[in-house]
Symmetry: C2
Subunit: 226 residues, 2 copies
Protein backbone atom coordinates (compact mmCIF):
# COMPACT_ATOMS: atom_id res chain seq x y z
CA UNK A 1 0.00 0.00 0.00
CA UNK A 2 2.86 2.32 0.89
CA UNK A 3 4.44 1.59 -2.47
CA UNK A 4 1.16 2.29 -4.27
CA UNK A 5 0.79 5.57 -2.39
CA UNK A 6 4.33 6.55 -3.28
CA UNK A 7 3.65 5.88 -6.95
CA UNK A 8 0.44 7.89 -6.77
CA UNK A 9 2.30 10.81 -5.26
CA UNK A 10 4.83 10.65 -8.06
CA UNK A 11 1.95 10.81 -10.50
CA UNK A 12 0.55 13.85 -8.68
CA UNK A 13 3.96 15.50 -8.68
CA UNK A 14 4.42 14.80 -12.40
CA UNK A 15 1.09 16.42 -13.14
CA UNK A 16 1.86 19.46 -11.02
CA UNK A 17 5.11 19.87 -12.96
CA UNK A 18 3.24 19.48 -16.24
CA UNK A 19 0.70 22.17 -15.30
CA UNK A 20 3.49 24.46 -14.07
CA UNK A 21 5.23 24.01 -17.43
CA UNK A 22 2.05 25.00 -19.27
CA UNK A 23 1.67 28.01 -16.97
CA UNK A 24 5.28 29.01 -17.70
CA UNK A 25 4.64 28.84 -21.43
CA UNK A 26 1.42 30.84 -20.96
CA UNK A 27 3.00 33.64 -18.93
CA UNK A 28 6.03 33.75 -21.23
CA UNK A 29 3.84 34.16 -24.31
CA UNK A 30 1.40 36.49 -22.53
CA UNK A 31 4.07 38.90 -21.34
CA UNK A 32 5.85 38.82 -24.71
CA UNK A 33 2.52 39.47 -26.47
CA UNK A 34 1.84 42.31 -24.02
CA UNK A 35 5.29 43.79 -24.66
CA UNK A 36 5.11 43.64 -28.45
CA UNK A 37 1.33 44.00 -29.03
CA UNK A 38 1.39 40.59 -30.70
CA UNK A 39 -2.30 39.74 -30.88
CA UNK A 40 -1.73 36.32 -32.49
CA UNK A 41 0.48 35.29 -29.59
CA UNK A 42 -2.12 36.65 -27.16
CA UNK A 43 -4.79 34.52 -28.87
CA UNK A 44 -2.61 31.45 -28.39
CA UNK A 45 -2.49 32.08 -24.64
CA UNK A 46 -6.25 32.63 -24.45
CA UNK A 47 -6.96 29.39 -26.33
CA UNK A 48 -4.42 27.36 -24.39
CA UNK A 49 -5.87 28.28 -21.00
CA UNK A 50 -8.63 25.69 -21.42
CA UNK A 51 -5.92 23.00 -21.44
CA UNK A 52 -4.53 24.24 -18.12
CA UNK A 53 -8.03 24.24 -16.64
CA UNK A 54 -8.60 20.70 -17.88
CA UNK A 55 -5.30 19.43 -16.49
CA UNK A 56 -6.09 21.02 -13.14
CA UNK A 57 -9.48 19.28 -13.01
CA UNK A 58 -7.80 15.97 -13.92
CA UNK A 59 -5.26 16.44 -11.17
CA UNK A 60 -8.05 17.19 -8.68
CA UNK A 61 -9.83 14.04 -9.76
CA UNK A 62 -6.66 12.04 -9.25
CA UNK A 63 -6.14 13.52 -5.80
CA UNK A 64 -9.72 12.69 -4.82
CA UNK A 65 -9.25 9.16 -6.14
CA UNK A 66 -6.12 8.77 -4.02
CA UNK A 67 -8.01 10.00 -0.96
CA UNK A 68 -10.82 7.53 -1.65
CA UNK A 69 -8.74 4.48 -2.50
CA UNK A 70 -5.67 4.87 -0.35
CA UNK A 71 -7.15 6.71 2.60
CA UNK A 72 -3.93 8.46 3.53
CA UNK A 73 -3.62 9.91 7.03
CA UNK A 74 -1.33 12.37 8.83
CA UNK A 75 1.37 13.87 6.66
CA UNK A 76 0.40 11.83 3.58
CA UNK A 77 -3.11 13.21 3.77
CA UNK A 78 -1.82 16.75 4.02
CA UNK A 79 0.37 16.22 0.98
CA UNK A 80 -2.66 15.24 -1.08
CA UNK A 81 -4.71 18.18 0.24
CA UNK A 82 -1.73 20.42 -0.58
CA UNK A 83 -1.77 19.13 -4.14
CA UNK A 84 -5.41 20.18 -4.46
CA UNK A 85 -4.48 23.66 -3.30
CA UNK A 86 -1.44 23.90 -5.55
CA UNK A 87 -3.59 22.85 -8.47
CA UNK A 88 -6.04 25.69 -7.68
CA UNK A 89 -3.21 28.24 -7.51
CA UNK A 90 -1.59 27.04 -10.74
CA UNK A 91 -4.96 27.18 -12.47
CA UNK A 92 -5.33 30.75 -11.24
CA UNK A 93 -1.84 31.62 -12.54
CA UNK A 94 -2.99 30.37 -15.94
CA UNK A 95 -6.04 32.63 -15.68
CA UNK A 96 -3.81 35.61 -14.95
CA UNK A 97 -1.65 34.89 -18.00
CA UNK A 98 -4.91 34.79 -19.97
CA UNK A 99 -5.98 38.14 -18.49
CA UNK A 100 -2.70 39.75 -19.58
CA UNK A 101 -3.27 38.30 -23.06
CA UNK A 102 -6.83 39.68 -23.05
CA UNK A 103 -5.55 43.17 -22.23
CA UNK A 104 -3.24 42.88 -25.26
CA UNK A 105 -6.09 41.77 -27.51
CA UNK A 106 -8.43 44.43 -26.16
CA UNK A 107 -6.07 47.29 -26.99
CA UNK A 108 -4.86 45.96 -30.34
CA UNK A 109 -3.82 47.57 -32.67
CA UNK A 110 -2.87 50.10 -29.99
CA UNK A 111 -0.09 49.02 -27.70
CA UNK A 112 -1.19 47.60 -24.41
CA UNK A 113 1.77 48.84 -22.40
CA UNK A 114 1.18 52.46 -21.47
CA UNK A 115 3.87 54.95 -22.49
CA UNK A 116 6.51 55.51 -19.87
CA UNK A 117 5.99 52.07 -18.34
CA UNK A 118 7.48 49.84 -21.01
CA UNK A 119 10.63 48.90 -19.14
CA UNK A 120 8.69 48.39 -15.90
CA UNK A 121 6.24 45.96 -17.49
CA UNK A 122 8.94 44.15 -19.44
CA UNK A 123 10.74 43.64 -16.14
CA UNK A 124 7.55 42.50 -14.41
CA UNK A 125 6.96 40.05 -17.26
CA UNK A 126 10.49 38.67 -16.94
CA UNK A 127 10.06 38.25 -13.19
CA UNK A 128 6.76 36.41 -13.65
CA UNK A 129 8.36 34.08 -16.19
CA UNK A 130 11.35 33.58 -13.90
CA UNK A 131 9.07 32.79 -10.95
CA UNK A 132 7.08 30.31 -13.05
CA UNK A 133 10.27 28.59 -14.26
CA UNK A 134 11.66 28.37 -10.74
CA UNK A 135 8.36 27.05 -9.47
CA UNK A 136 8.32 24.33 -12.13
CA UNK A 137 11.87 23.39 -11.13
CA UNK A 138 10.93 23.46 -7.45
CA UNK A 139 7.99 21.13 -8.08
CA UNK A 140 10.30 18.85 -10.05
CA UNK A 141 13.30 18.81 -7.72
CA UNK A 142 11.93 20.00 -4.36
CA UNK A 143 15.14 22.05 -4.13
CA UNK A 144 14.34 24.39 -1.24
CA UNK A 145 16.78 27.08 -2.41
CA UNK A 146 14.37 27.85 -5.21
CA UNK A 147 11.73 28.94 -2.69
CA UNK A 148 13.87 31.93 -1.70
CA UNK A 149 14.46 32.78 -5.35
CA UNK A 150 10.71 32.79 -5.98
CA UNK A 151 10.21 35.01 -2.92
CA UNK A 152 12.89 37.36 -4.25
CA UNK A 153 11.18 37.58 -7.63
CA UNK A 154 7.89 38.28 -5.83
CA UNK A 155 9.49 41.01 -3.69
CA UNK A 156 10.79 42.70 -6.83
CA UNK A 157 7.34 42.38 -8.41
CA UNK A 158 5.79 44.06 -5.37
CA UNK A 159 8.28 46.93 -5.65
CA UNK A 160 7.56 47.38 -9.34
CA UNK A 161 3.82 47.22 -8.63
CA UNK A 162 4.22 50.11 -6.19
CA UNK A 163 6.37 51.98 -8.72
CA UNK A 164 3.63 51.69 -11.36
CA UNK A 165 1.19 53.47 -9.03
CA UNK A 166 3.82 56.07 -8.13
CA UNK A 167 4.31 56.76 -11.82
CA UNK A 168 0.61 56.86 -12.66
CA UNK A 169 -0.14 59.20 -9.75
CA UNK A 170 2.86 61.47 -10.38
CA UNK A 171 2.70 64.85 -12.09
CA UNK A 172 4.75 63.50 -14.96
CA UNK A 173 2.06 60.97 -15.95
CA UNK A 174 0.73 61.84 -19.39
CA UNK A 175 -1.42 58.78 -19.94
CA UNK A 176 -5.09 59.07 -20.79
CA UNK A 177 -7.68 57.19 -18.66
CA UNK A 178 -7.36 54.15 -20.88
CA UNK A 179 -3.61 54.00 -20.22
CA UNK A 180 -4.25 54.44 -16.50
CA UNK A 181 -6.77 51.57 -16.48
CA UNK A 182 -4.37 49.34 -18.41
CA UNK A 183 -1.47 50.15 -16.12
CA UNK A 184 -3.60 49.45 -13.04
CA UNK A 185 -4.97 46.12 -14.24
CA UNK A 186 -1.74 44.90 -15.81
CA UNK A 187 0.29 45.74 -12.74
CA UNK A 188 -2.20 43.99 -10.50
CA UNK A 189 -2.14 40.86 -12.69
CA UNK A 190 1.65 40.72 -12.83
CA UNK A 191 1.90 41.19 -9.08
CA UNK A 192 -0.77 38.61 -8.27
CA UNK A 193 0.99 36.05 -10.46
CA UNK A 194 4.01 36.36 -8.18
CA UNK A 195 1.82 35.99 -5.07
CA UNK A 196 0.40 32.73 -6.37
CA UNK A 197 3.88 31.45 -7.21
CA UNK A 198 4.95 32.12 -3.61
CA UNK A 199 1.77 30.49 -2.34
CA UNK A 200 2.54 27.28 -4.27
CA UNK A 201 6.21 27.41 -3.27
CA UNK A 202 5.23 27.61 0.40
CA UNK A 203 3.17 24.47 0.02
CA UNK A 204 6.17 22.69 -1.43
CA UNK A 205 8.12 24.01 1.55
CA UNK A 206 5.53 22.44 3.79
CA UNK A 207 6.18 19.06 2.25
CA UNK A 208 9.72 19.23 3.56
CA UNK A 209 9.20 21.16 6.81
CA UNK A 210 5.77 19.92 7.89
CA UNK A 211 4.86 23.48 8.87
CA UNK A 212 1.34 23.50 7.53
CA UNK A 213 -0.20 26.77 8.68
CA UNK A 214 2.44 28.97 7.11
CA UNK A 215 1.59 27.42 3.77
CA UNK A 216 -2.07 28.42 3.76
CA UNK A 217 -1.87 32.19 3.66
CA UNK A 218 -1.35 34.24 0.55
CA UNK A 219 0.50 37.51 0.53
CA UNK A 220 -1.41 40.09 -1.37
CA UNK A 221 -0.15 43.57 -2.08
CA UNK A 222 -3.25 45.27 -3.30
CA UNK A 223 -2.55 48.85 -3.85
CA UNK A 224 0.21 50.91 -2.38
CA UNK A 225 -0.52 53.35 0.38
CA UNK A 226 0.47 56.50 -1.40
Amino acid sequence: MREVFHQSLEDVQGRLVEIAELVTIAIDKATRAFGTSDVALAEEVIEADAVIDEKAVELDELAIEILARQQPVARDLRIVVSALRMSASLERMGDIAEHIAQLTRMRFPERAIPKGLKSTFLKMGELDVEAARQLTELLRTQDGDLIDEIRNADDKLDELHVSVFEKVLSDSWQGDPSATVDATLASRYHERFGDHAVSVAKKVAYLSTGDWTSSTDTIDVVAPSL
Copy 2:
Protein backbone atom coordinates in the same frame (compact mmCIF):
# COMPACT_ATOMS: atom_id res chain seq x y z
CA MET B 1 -19.78 5.74 11.81
CA ARG B 2 -22.39 7.15 9.45
CA GLU B 3 -23.90 9.07 12.35
CA VAL B 4 -20.51 10.44 13.33
CA PHE B 5 -19.88 11.53 9.77
CA HIS B 6 -23.26 13.20 9.61
CA GLN B 7 -22.50 15.12 12.78
CA SER B 8 -19.11 16.14 11.44
CA LEU B 9 -20.71 17.46 8.29
CA GLU B 10 -23.13 19.50 10.34
CA ASP B 11 -20.16 20.95 12.17
CA VAL B 12 -18.53 21.80 8.82
CA GLN B 13 -21.73 23.37 7.58
CA GLY B 14 -22.11 25.41 10.76
CA ARG B 15 -18.61 26.75 10.39
CA LEU B 16 -19.13 27.62 6.73
CA VAL B 17 -22.24 29.56 7.76
CA GLU B 18 -20.29 31.29 10.51
CA ILE B 19 -17.53 32.37 8.10
CA ALA B 20 -20.10 33.50 5.54
CA GLU B 21 -21.73 35.62 8.25
CA LEU B 22 -18.40 37.25 9.07
CA VAL B 23 -17.79 37.86 5.37
CA THR B 24 -21.24 39.45 5.08
CA ILE B 25 -20.48 41.79 7.98
CA ALA B 26 -17.10 42.60 6.41
CA ILE B 27 -18.44 43.44 2.97
CA ASP B 28 -21.35 45.39 4.46
CA LYS B 29 -19.01 47.53 6.54
CA ALA B 30 -16.42 47.80 3.77
CA THR B 31 -18.86 49.02 1.17
CA ARG B 32 -20.50 51.43 3.62
CA ALA B 33 -17.06 52.75 4.62
CA PHE B 34 -16.18 53.11 0.95
CA GLY B 35 -19.41 54.98 0.26
CA THR B 36 -19.10 57.40 3.17
CA SER B 37 -15.28 57.66 3.51
CA ASP B 38 -15.63 56.28 7.02
CA VAL B 39 -12.06 55.39 7.88
CA ALA B 40 -12.91 54.04 11.35
CA LEU B 41 -15.33 51.56 9.82
CA ALA B 42 -12.70 50.65 7.23
CA GLU B 43 -10.21 49.97 10.02
CA GLU B 44 -12.71 47.61 11.65
CA VAL B 45 -12.91 45.56 8.46
CA ILE B 46 -9.14 45.44 8.10
CA GLU B 47 -8.70 44.26 11.68
CA ALA B 48 -11.51 41.73 11.52
CA ASP B 49 -10.10 39.98 8.46
CA ALA B 50 -7.64 38.07 10.62
CA VAL B 51 -10.60 36.41 12.34
CA ILE B 52 -11.99 35.22 9.01
CA ASP B 53 -8.58 33.86 8.05
CA GLU B 54 -8.32 32.05 11.36
CA LYS B 55 -11.79 30.54 11.07
CA ALA B 56 -10.98 29.36 7.56
CA VAL B 57 -7.80 27.65 8.78
CA GLU B 58 -9.77 26.01 11.60
CA LEU B 59 -12.36 24.76 9.16
CA ASP B 60 -9.62 23.35 6.93
CA GLU B 61 -8.13 21.58 9.92
CA LEU B 62 -11.52 20.11 10.77
CA ALA B 63 -12.04 18.92 7.19
CA ILE B 64 -8.60 17.28 7.18
CA GLU B 65 -9.38 15.62 10.50
CA ILE B 66 -12.62 14.25 9.07
CA LEU B 67 -10.73 12.90 6.07
CA ALA B 68 -8.18 11.28 8.36
CA ARG B 69 -10.52 9.80 10.96
CA GLN B 70 -13.61 8.95 9.00
CA GLN B 71 -12.08 8.18 5.64
CA PRO B 72 -15.14 9.17 3.63
CA VAL B 73 -15.43 7.90 0.06
CA ALA B 74 -17.51 8.72 -3.02
CA ARG B 75 -19.95 11.59 -2.53
CA ASP B 76 -19.07 12.07 1.15
CA LEU B 77 -15.45 12.56 0.23
CA ARG B 78 -16.36 15.14 -2.40
CA ILE B 79 -18.48 17.01 0.11
CA VAL B 80 -15.49 17.38 2.42
CA VAL B 81 -13.20 18.42 -0.44
CA SER B 82 -15.90 20.92 -1.48
CA ALA B 83 -15.86 22.36 2.01
CA LEU B 84 -12.10 22.98 1.70
CA ARG B 85 -12.72 24.84 -1.55
CA MET B 86 -15.62 26.85 -0.17
CA SER B 87 -13.46 27.82 2.78
CA ALA B 88 -10.78 29.11 0.39
CA SER B 89 -13.32 31.15 -1.57
CA LEU B 90 -14.92 32.62 1.55
CA GLU B 91 -11.50 33.54 2.87
CA ARG B 92 -10.80 35.28 -0.43
CA MET B 93 -14.11 37.16 -0.20
CA GLY B 94 -12.97 38.41 3.20
CA ASP B 95 -9.70 39.58 1.61
CA ILE B 96 -11.63 41.49 -1.03
CA ALA B 97 -13.73 43.24 1.63
CA GLU B 98 -10.43 44.16 3.27
CA HIS B 99 -9.07 45.50 -0.03
CA ILE B 100 -12.12 47.75 -0.43
CA ALA B 101 -11.57 48.98 3.13
CA GLN B 102 -7.89 49.60 2.34
CA LEU B 103 -8.83 51.75 -0.66
CA THR B 104 -11.02 53.81 1.67
CA ARG B 105 -8.22 54.23 4.20
CA MET B 106 -5.68 55.01 1.51
CA ARG B 107 -7.70 57.92 0.09
CA PHE B 108 -8.89 59.29 3.41
CA PRO B 109 -9.66 62.17 4.02
CA GLU B 110 -10.44 62.33 0.30
CA ARG B 111 -13.42 60.31 -0.77
CA ALA B 112 -12.62 56.92 -2.22
CA ILE B 113 -15.51 56.77 -4.68
CA PRO B 114 -14.57 58.76 -7.76
CA LYS B 115 -16.92 61.53 -8.77
CA GLY B 116 -19.62 60.47 -11.20
CA LEU B 117 -19.51 56.86 -10.01
CA LYS B 118 -21.10 57.17 -6.59
CA SER B 119 -24.43 55.57 -7.47
CA THR B 120 -22.68 52.81 -9.42
CA PHE B 121 -20.43 51.85 -6.53
CA LEU B 122 -23.23 52.11 -3.97
CA LYS B 123 -25.22 49.72 -6.14
CA MET B 124 -22.22 47.37 -6.51
CA GLY B 125 -21.78 47.43 -2.75
CA GLU B 126 -25.45 46.57 -2.20
CA LEU B 127 -25.23 43.70 -4.67
CA ASP B 128 -22.12 42.33 -2.95
CA VAL B 129 -23.85 42.48 0.44
CA GLU B 130 -26.96 40.88 -1.05
CA ALA B 131 -24.90 38.08 -2.60
CA ALA B 132 -23.10 37.48 0.71
CA ARG B 133 -26.39 37.36 2.63
CA GLN B 134 -27.95 34.98 0.13
CA LEU B 135 -24.85 32.83 0.21
CA THR B 136 -25.01 32.62 4.01
CA GLU B 137 -28.65 31.64 3.76
CA LEU B 138 -27.87 29.10 1.03
CA LEU B 139 -25.19 27.51 3.20
CA ARG B 140 -27.62 27.41 6.09
CA THR B 141 -30.71 26.13 4.28
CA GLN B 142 -29.36 24.59 1.05
CA ASP B 143 -32.33 26.26 -0.64
CA GLY B 144 -31.41 25.96 -4.32
CA ASP B 145 -33.50 28.95 -5.37
CA LEU B 146 -30.91 31.17 -3.72
CA ILE B 147 -28.28 30.00 -6.21
CA ASP B 148 -30.14 31.74 -9.04
CA GLU B 149 -30.48 34.88 -6.95
CA ILE B 150 -26.74 34.91 -6.34
CA ARG B 151 -26.12 34.44 -10.06
CA ASN B 152 -28.49 37.32 -10.78
CA ALA B 153 -26.63 39.59 -8.37
CA ASP B 154 -23.37 38.55 -10.03
CA ASP B 155 -24.76 39.26 -13.52
CA LYS B 156 -25.74 42.75 -12.39
CA LEU B 157 -22.28 43.21 -10.86
CA ASP B 158 -20.69 42.24 -14.18
CA GLU B 159 -22.86 44.79 -15.99
CA LEU B 160 -21.94 47.53 -13.53
CA HIS B 161 -18.26 46.55 -13.81
CA VAL B 162 -18.47 47.05 -17.58
CA SER B 163 -20.30 50.35 -17.04
CA VAL B 164 -17.48 51.62 -14.81
CA PHE B 165 -15.00 51.11 -17.63
CA GLU B 166 -17.36 52.68 -20.15
CA LYS B 167 -17.62 55.72 -17.91
CA VAL B 168 -13.90 55.95 -17.21
CA LEU B 169 -13.04 55.65 -20.89
CA SER B 170 -15.74 58.06 -22.09
CA ASP B 171 -15.15 61.66 -23.11
CA SER B 172 -17.21 62.84 -20.17
CA TRP B 173 -14.76 61.36 -17.62
CA GLN B 174 -13.22 64.17 -15.61
CA GLY B 175 -11.39 62.07 -13.06
CA ASP B 176 -7.68 62.46 -12.48
CA PRO B 177 -5.39 59.39 -12.68
CA SER B 178 -5.93 58.69 -9.01
CA ALA B 179 -9.70 58.52 -9.53
CA THR B 180 -9.17 56.27 -12.55
CA VAL B 181 -6.96 53.91 -10.53
CA ASP B 182 -9.51 53.81 -7.70
CA ALA B 183 -12.40 53.16 -10.06
CA THR B 184 -10.49 50.37 -11.78
CA LEU B 185 -9.43 48.60 -8.59
CA ALA B 186 -12.70 49.10 -6.73
CA SER B 187 -14.75 47.86 -9.64
CA ARG B 188 -12.54 44.82 -10.02
CA TYR B 189 -12.85 44.00 -6.30
CA HIS B 190 -16.62 44.38 -6.25
CA GLU B 191 -16.98 42.24 -9.34
CA ARG B 192 -14.63 39.50 -8.09
CA PHE B 193 -16.54 39.30 -4.83
CA GLY B 194 -19.61 38.30 -6.85
CA ASP B 195 -17.60 35.71 -8.79
CA HIS B 196 -16.49 34.04 -5.59
CA ALA B 197 -20.04 34.04 -4.24
CA VAL B 198 -21.17 32.23 -7.40
CA SER B 199 -18.24 29.85 -7.11
CA VAL B 200 -19.25 28.87 -3.55
CA ALA B 201 -22.94 28.68 -4.53
CA LYS B 202 -22.11 26.26 -7.33
CA LYS B 203 -20.36 24.00 -4.85
CA VAL B 204 -23.46 23.98 -2.69
CA ALA B 205 -25.39 23.15 -5.86
CA TYR B 206 -23.08 20.21 -6.36
CA LEU B 207 -24.01 18.86 -2.97
CA SER B 208 -27.57 18.46 -4.19
CA THR B 209 -26.98 17.62 -7.85
CA GLY B 210 -23.74 15.64 -7.68
CA ASP B 211 -22.49 17.49 -10.77
CA TRP B 212 -18.93 18.03 -9.68
CA THR B 213 -17.09 19.48 -12.69
CA SER B 214 -19.43 22.43 -13.11
CA SER B 215 -18.62 23.44 -9.56
CA THR B 216 -14.87 23.77 -10.06
CA ASP B 217 -14.67 26.66 -12.51
CA THR B 218 -14.84 30.31 -11.60
CA ILE B 219 -16.35 32.88 -13.85
CA ASP B 220 -14.11 35.88 -14.13
CA VAL B 221 -14.97 39.01 -16.02
CA VAL B 222 -11.63 40.73 -16.15
CA ALA B 223 -11.90 43.78 -18.18
CA PRO B 224 -14.54 44.56 -20.73
CA SER B 225 -13.70 44.39 -24.42
CA LEU B 226 -14.35 47.99 -25.25
